[in-house]
Structures are given as structure tokens and as C-alpha cells.
């Protein structure tokens, strides 16, 4: 597992130019924009970068050799989820620091306390990107998974739009919002983390199954 983490870290660091561009953009946004967008932006990019290491593994038939190394297929999958989490968490920390510095410069200490629950919610929500992308990339490969991902988000957009139309006129949505308003942000955060953890676990099981069936 440690060898795999080392490999993925080194593969990610080969994209130094991309990392520098992302970081500079993050710095500019962190200093100029209000809100926690910067944290979400960096966490999302880190997750995509982490999942992107699967493309490097896949490139030039690299999977075949990797699977001769001393770890099981399940360990490979576990490492991908762990690496994505570590990279996302690291990016979240950097984003949070930039956000704090930005708030400090703008003498906007109030926004920090207001946005803390929102900031904490970013990590599990953004990590869902990995939970969706890892199994897709393992099953369909780097190229096809992009198409599948587009279809996936298309379906979600249709569902959201469709449900909006359904709930139009009914006050169920308003009642739900009203009910949530009374709930403390800690409970909402906890429920969100639990939901994301459940989706990630299902995604992990699916990925492990895909890898077990895969031939190289």
C-alpha cells in the first residue's frame, strides 16, 4: 500500500506545471473572492488529480505490471480511495488557510464563523467526485469514463429539473426547507458526512468488484 501511495504521489508531482497553475489561480481567487469557493475549488481539483492517477496506471498497459506487484487488487482499489481522500484533505487545508488569510485581509472575521459548517461540508461533498469517478474509470477506462460521466450528470440534471417541475405548486419543498431550518448545522453536517460515507462505501464495493473481474 505504501509503495502505491508513493507511486501516486510521484505521478501527481510529475504534473508540476498543472499544480502551479492551479495554485496561482487559487491564490488569486482566494484573495479576490468572498466565500468559500476557493476551498471547494481546490478540493475538487485535488480529487480530480488523484483519480487521474488511474489514467497513468492504465496508460501503456501499465495495469498488467502493477498487478504483479505484491498487493491484492482490493488493496489497489483501497489505495485509490485513500489517496484521493488524502489529496482532497490536503487541498482542503490549503484552501481553508487561503480562505482565512483572505478573510483576515478583508477584516471579515465574521464570515469565517458563518462559513465554518459550509467549509467542513465541502470535503465529504467534493470527495463524492472520487466516489463517482473511481469505479467509472476502472470500468470504462480514462476515455470512455468521461462520456459515461457526462451521461451520469445529464441524468442527474434531468432528475433535478424533473423533480422541480413535479414539486412546483406543492409546498413539500418549502416544508422540507422549513424543517431543516430548525435543525442545528452540526446535525446537518453529520447527516451529510454519513450520507457521503455510505455512497463512498457502495462505490468502493463496486470498484473492488470491477477490479476482481478485470483481466489484464
Amino acid at each position: 500500500m505504501l509503495g502505491l501511495l508513493e507511486k501516486d504521489l510521484r505521478l501527481t508531482l510529475t504534473r508540476k506545471q498543472t499544480l502551479v497553475i492551479f495554485f496561482v489561480l487559487a491564490l488569486i481567487m482566494g484573495m479576490s473572492m468572498d466565500g468559500s469557493f476557493i476551498v471547494a475549488y481546490l478540493t475538487m481539483l485535488a480529487t480530480i488529480l488523484a483519480v487521474g492517477t488511474i489514467s497513468y496506471d492504465e496508460f501503456d498497459n501499465g495495469f498488467a505490471f502493477l498487478m504483479t506487484l505484491p498487493f491484492s487488487r482490493k488493496t489497489y482499489v483501497t489505495e485509490k480511495y485513500l489517496f484521493s481522500l488524502l489529496l482532497a484533505a490536503a487541498a482542503w487545508c490549503v484552501g481553508a488557510i487561503l480562505f482565512c488569510i483572505g478573510s483576515g485581509i478583508r477584516h471579515d472575521a465574521a464570515s469565517l464563523t458563518d462559513e465554518l459548517p459550509m467549509l467542513l461540508a465541502i470535503l465529504p461533498v467534493m470527495y463524492l467526485t472520487a466516489a463517482i469517478m473511481i469505479p467509472l474509470q476502472l470500468k470504462y477506462g480514462a476515455e470512455k469514463s468521461r462520456i459515461v460521466l457526462l451521461i451520469f450528470f445529464g441524468v442527474i440534471a434531468i432528475l433535478v429539473f424533473g423533480s422541480k417541475r413535479i414539486f412546483e405548486g406543492s409546498n413539500a419543498l418549502a416544508e422540507l426547507t422549513k424543517a431543516l431550518e430548525g435543525t442545528s448545522s452540526a446535525v446537518v453536517l453529520l447527516a451529510l458526512v454519513a450520507g457521503c460515507a455510505l455512497i463512498t462505501f457502495v462505490s468502493y464495493l463496486w470498484s473492488a468488484r470491477i477490479m476482481e473481474k478485470k483481466e489484464f
Binding site: G3, E6, G62, F65, F216
Partner: protein, 281 residues
Amino acid sequence: MVKLDNLVKTYGDFRLDLSLEIPDGTVTGIVGKNGAGKSTTIKAILGLIRPDAGRVTINGKDAMKLTGAEKKSIGAALSDSGFSAYLRIRDIICILRKTYPTFDEAFFRDCCSAQGLPLDKQIKDFSTGMRAKLRVLIALSHGAELLIMDEPTAGLDVEARNDILDLLRQYLTENDRRSILLTSHISSDLESLCDDIYLIHDGKIVLHEDTDTILSHYAILKVDEDTYETLDKSYILSTKKEPFGYACFTNEKQFYAENYPGIVIASGGIDDLILMMTGGN
């Protein structure tokens, strides 16, 4: 010990169907034409493909179910796969250090230096030969008990090939339980290294013989049409029509040398074995 027991794997029209054994302490070669099933056999042994039928075991355990710890005793060099080409050898050293507790970094660095492999260059900028050398060195770097190598010397010049073969010989002398399974198109590599040879054709083993026996007992008889008619064909394995008459492949060179003193007998090597056993009539 590696054992393939009635392994069957089908890809469309191609069907691999074979059994073979690689005892501890031996060097076994697999030869055959392109598409004969050599790489598929290697992949099955490494647990990279799932057999349709039959069993592949390494030390009694299913090759698909080997644990990480059990895989540590295997070193693999595949012809078309390796670490990401975006990595440098310096990166690979750090990865191997964390992957294999027995990784011999000093040996690996020395070999890379001796083979002219730069530590700070991305593998994508390596030549084909450099990549082949690196794959072999990685497989050798952690004292594996079993080496499985698919075309390890492909793309190498004579000097580099000899260096790699010397490294393999040295690897064998360090521990008499060590085994190597390799495929190669270069017959001289196999003749100088292997204890026994499997010849695969169209997914089936058409011959399994000790290398010494192949070199000492196998031969090509070159005979004209009249001699061919009277020739005792009991020990003729394969015949091919030639402009001068017939080329007959035999596994009893001595018999024909004693009984037919007038015919031309050319010693058979592995190249002849492949040509005559897979292309003759």
C-alpha cells in the same frame, strides 16, 4: 513450483489448452511463433487473466488468489508493461523501497549505472532497449524466488543481452531454489540458459524437452527424394519439402548418423525446432 493443470483460455478463435510444470531450481523456456500463446501463458501464471478451465498454481496456491506477501517472492518482467513512463528511475527506487522489504537498492543502482540507465530521466524518453533493461532489473532487484519474464531480451543489442543473461546466471547461483520462466524469440538466449524448453503452437504444447537433449539429439536431415523414399521414418518428427529434396527433423540424430552415413545431418537448434515443428508437413 509452478503448475498449469489443463489450463484453458479462449479468445475468439484462439484457444490455449496446456499443462506444464516448472519445478524449483530450474530455468524453463517457452518458445513459439507470434500468437502461439506464450504471453497468455505468462499472464495466466501471474494471475492477470482468469482461466476458462483448469488450474494455475504457484507453490500449491491458486495464482489468482496469491496474497501480497506471497507475491513478494515473484519478480515479473513483461514485454509490454511496466511502471508509468512518466516516472524516473529515482522515483521507482523510492516506490520499490516501500514495496519490497528485500529491495536491494545498492545492487539496483549499480546495475542501472552499469547499463547506462539515467536516474533522472523520465522513462518515456528511454529507448526500447533501455526500457527492456529496466524491466529486467526491477524484477531482479528484490531477491525473488521465481522470475517470470516475457521476452526479457527483446530489443537489446548483443552486449546488453549478454549483460542481462549474466545477471540472470548470477541470480541463479545465489540460491539453488530459484527458478526462472522465460519466453524469448532469441534461441541463443534460451540455449545458453534454459534447462528445459516448451514449444507452444496454436495454444498447445507440441514439444517439451531438456535443452541438452535438443542440442545433442535433435537434427535436420537433408535428403534427396530417392533417399527420402528409403529412409526409416520412425524417428522423423517433421518433414519439409525443399528444393534439394526434403528436410527431415529428427530427435535421434545418432540413429541416422550410424545407419545412413551418406546423408547430410545438420545439428538442430531451437530455431530449427520452431521452424520444423510448427511450419513443416
